[in-house]
Symmetry: C2
């Protein structure tokens, strides 16, 4: 199965950005297309602005558009959209399309909130749980960005039968951080995702934004999205890596490897489910 990771930048308007995405998608003959988090527009969570909720109002139209793209181009496609579910109730939602059909959706479960990433203002935490989506190219375990940092999310997708982990994401540097801190952050982000692949013996795709985006409120200095999208196999081995520019990264995914690796290192066999109660607690002080 060939997958394409569309590592792209915001093009100044929704129209221009979508047009650009379509051009990038046309560069690949991959069966599975994954776009970055909230790829239709700017990363608007750099500040808390009520006006930004308008970006979610066309969710139904957006879904119909990307459904049409998946049909027109005959692809499985993972889009990351801002969903207005009801007035005043919004989600960060990945929608998975399969040759013109809506195969499923995932509402981001873990919502971050830290300076420049004010997502708790915008996104209600997902209520669909961690459910793989059945498609013609396999059962996709789609998660979004901050979910990346949670081994729990990847594990549950694996226990529910996912054949691949997929993370649309929007993460970057602040220019004011020093090079050592930037390097540690990028390396931590790559490392923990590779570890989800390893722990569960699943291939993994991580697709990031790229480019510099100003904070429209002028309060913060903006985010330099670091790219470095990558694909890895079930031992965490790199299959393909992007740098910090726009790029369409292709990777060949071999689902046969999942069983081979799991049979060699049978981690799922030995989980101590009798001793994991603490995982369902916030903290376990005595």
């Amino acid at each position: 199965m060939k997958a394409a990771l569309i590592q792209q930048s915001y093009q100044g308007s929704k129209e221009a950005t979508i047009k650009h995405s379509l051009e990038l998608i046309d560069q690949t003959d991959a069966q599975l297309i994954v776009l970055p988090e909230l790829h239709q527009g700017p990363y608007f969570c750099q500040n808390e602005d009520i006006a930004n909720f308008d970006l979610a109002k066309d969710f139904e139209t957006d879904v119909e558009f990307w459904r049409w793209v998946s049909e027109e181009k005959q692809k499985v496609l993972v889009a990351s959209l801002f969903e207005q579910r009801a007035p005043g109730l919004y989600h960060n939602t990945a929608v998975i399309f399969d040759h013109g059909k809506i195969a499923g959706k995932y509402r981001k479960m873990h919502i971050p909130d830290d300076p420049g990433f004010y997502e708790k203002f915008y996104f209600t935490p997902g209520d669909l749980g961690f459910e793989p989506v059945e498609t013609s190219v396999g059962r996709l375990g789609v998660l979004v960005c901050w979910d990346q940092w949670y081994p729990e999310a990847a594990r549950i997708m694996a226990l529910k039968g996912a054949q691949i982990l997929i993370y649309p994401t929007a993460i970057g540097w602040f220019d004011q951080d020093n090079d050592e801190e930037k390097s540690r952050q990028l390396d931590a982000w790559i490392t923990i995702q590779r570890a989800h692949a390893i722990a569960n013996a699943l291939p993994l795709l991580s697709v990031n934004r790229v480019g510099f985006e100003l904070d429209s409120s002028g309060c913060l200095a903006g985010i330099r999205f670091w790219g470095h999208s990558f694909a890895c196999g079930p031992q965490g081995e790199f299959l393909a890596k992007a740098k910090e520019e726009e790029e369409v990264v292709e990777a060949l995914i071999d689902f046969e490897r999942i069983k081979e690796v799991r049979d060699t290192w049978p981690f799922l066999r030995d989980r101590r489910i009798d001793a994991y109660d603490c995982l369902l607690k916030r903290y376990c002080e005595k």
Copy 2:
């Protein structure tokens, strides 16, 4: 806090190996000493031999010996021993000593079993759970080898207040594997442990055996323990790394960094404990 990782090889007898360990310990002024898994003897789990249970019979004497070492050398010390708890009931047990006192112990919870690592024959799975051990240098989250592959174990130690994750381990290559497979295995092992540090914002020490050990039954070709012991900080950043020879690796651990990193990337805040039930199941098919 200075920690020392004693990456050593088996010296042909218990006496020679212990003598060698003491010489290596004398090379460092670290406050915390960590030895590899089952460091007193050979890695006897390469075959299933009832005679090997004799290696556990002196557990009480072994504990008293390492208690004395920790007192004599005024150290906190993590030893990894073969415990006879009752006739026919054995554990792979880490004992933590603090300046002549037994601070606590941990019985390996996840027991592997694959060709050359027949541990399920020897070791009853631990029944003490994942409990950090309070010592004069901090609360130590001691786990053992195969536990390395389980994000659940590291997470529970963190939720119970561990300030550092520590893995005595015995892992290596089969010479008959090709270089690509060897490289993937080593890299997976390093990566997943660094990820436990990252997910929990905790420093981590992993201490491996080194050297080639024959399978005494002659059935298998032996294991080349790959060394590569390392220490990393709470962003997974390397603090110290060993190669494939014997080495005493020292690392300075800064517990203040835990709070700094967690305050910047507050992963513990956003865990979806309402949606993790599946983690307590073996598998979650529909």
